[in-house]
Symmetry: C2
Subunit: 126 residues, 2 copies
């Protein structure tokens, strides 16, 4: 596996974007609903809904629009602003990774080939 | 508050660096011990020790060296490699932020001035 950079942008104490929210937007774009996106990501409907509610309150424009519907809830889709948000986030990732490349390569050369095995250690599970 | 970028580098499934570990390295550098660093960050000794144990197993060189000691445990300090790791991580942050600047500025212009207030919402506490 090549080194992977993930990033989070905090705009304010309750205004942030990061990999979880962006994956959720992509999943909504594919699944066409919040419940379907949650299922695809193994995330509860409540959690998915709260992340979207956060994002919708974060910007002057809505990120996702939803329609009321039947048993499974109505459909959900990204607004043009939501599509843009996702594109900018992915661009930040790509440009940040390019900028950081030589530092990451330096650190990767010093990686241990045998990191401590999970199984040998006592971990408090989350 | 200006937008803030935080990042994490995953080198492999059990080999990663991110803001928590890097803040801990800085705190050890200031406090001169793992217990002191944990206290400064409000982190348990066990948690701090495990993060350092992870980091020490992650690379071919140790990041922190510790000395056995009295009640409070012996001192701890960053190795030259540990200092370097911290410098590279901070450089990755700075260069990534510069590269991402125009995208972040675009998103910052669309920020809501009134994000939803924490108090008005029902949250499951962690």
């Amino acid at each position: 596996m090549p080194p992977r950079l993930t990033l989070r942008v905090d705009f304010g104490p309750r205004q942030s974007i990061g990999p979880g929210k962006m994956r959720l937007l992509e999943a909504i774009d594919s699944a066409g609903s919040i419940s379907g996106a949650g299922r695809a990501l193994g995330m509860s409907y409540r959690r998915a809904w709260m992340l979207i509610d956060d994002l919708n309150g974060c910007f002057t424009e809505k990120v996702v629009t939803t329609a009321l519907g039947g048993k499974e809830g109505g459909g959900a889709k990204l607004t043009p602003f939501g599509q843009n948000l996702l594109k900018h986030y992915r661009a930040i990732e790509t440009e940040a990774a390019t900028a950081a490349k030589k530092h990451i390569a330096f650190l990767a050369r010093s990686l241990s080939e045998k990191p401590p095995a999970e199984a040998k250690r006592t971990r408090i599970s989350k």
